[in-house]
Symmetry: C2
Subunit: 146 residues, 2 copies
Amino acid sequence: MPEVLDHDIREKFRRSGYTLTSQRRAVLEALSEARGHPSAEDVYLVVKRKNPRVALGTVYQALSVLEEIGVIESKHWSDSPTRYDLNLVPHLDVRCVRCGEVAEVPGVEMGDIDQQIQANTPYEVTRTAMLIEGLCPKCSGERNGA
Amino acid sequence: MPEVLDHDIREKFRRSGYTLTSQRRAVLEALSEARGHPSAEDVYLVVKRKNPRVALGTVYQALSVLEEIGVIESKHWSDSPTRYDLNLVPHLDVRCVRCGEVAEVPGVEMGDIDQQIQANTPYEVTRTAMLIEGLCPKCSGERNGA
DNA sequence: GACCCAATCAATAATCATTCCTGAAACGGA
DNA sequence: TCCGTTTCAGGAATGATTATTGATTGGGTC
Ligand SMILES: [Mn+2]
Ligand SMILES: [Mn+2]
Ligand SMILES: [Zn+2]
Ligand SMILES: [Zn+2]
């Protein structure tokens, strides 16, 4: 198991005032095990394997705290529960509309889109995100096969 | 009232095989009246003013049909019900995280982002969208005033 | 104009992700 | 150890959306 709880994470907890409880640690570990982009439910199932007493609500709370202090990120697709991501480096993710699998899309240059957006609206822009849907190779192949 | 039911729309109904019922026409009209980016509930309230018998479920059904045949578009933000838009020209919209108001963001050049995305994933990309959140001028001003 | 059939509708129940609530437990400092 | 605060587990509640179902409608046919 990689060193999930590095200095950076401990520091973010310290600065935020939140305590690093065993449940929050467990959620963090589950998130790094389930190397994909798990939903709250997915995380819950992993956490429960080691500690059957945790409730789904607790996982939601923990995820919310972790996101608030900037340790994880959430991504939202319509027609799907929220997915969580340990990868804090800005990047794009694509979700298969058929099976739900999420994969990263590296190497896309977004350029100055964010500045362009801010320059063209009187709103104070607080968040921008690229939403990508598609068919994964497996589902794309099965479309009229299997 | 502008000519909402232009040739284009009638033609899309004809080609799809769906019939242009009074309820669907009412939803379309409500959508063009509520010149913003109304939710299904918003549309429902407008429709109900003229025909109190329509049910919310009917509005959802009508919106779904209208989107399917390409007469309207839906946009999704987390923490908000789906918004519907008569403006079919590709464009960006920003939503105020405080009051929920949606406004268009003109003049942003997305460049070849979509091609870049498709070139960098084995997925067959079926949809991309830019999600923008912010504070509208009014809410931004009130942040530490009013 | 009466009749027929398929499409559509209204009303309501069900679903599902997420949040809220409550009393109990754990933690940290005086 | 005692106290106040934070966190937790469990379960109920919420809110948007979808599914179900039986009734209604409307357009074509005789
Ligand atoms: Mn990712
Ligand atoms: Mn718009
Ligand atoms: Zn797939
Ligand atoms: Zn606002």
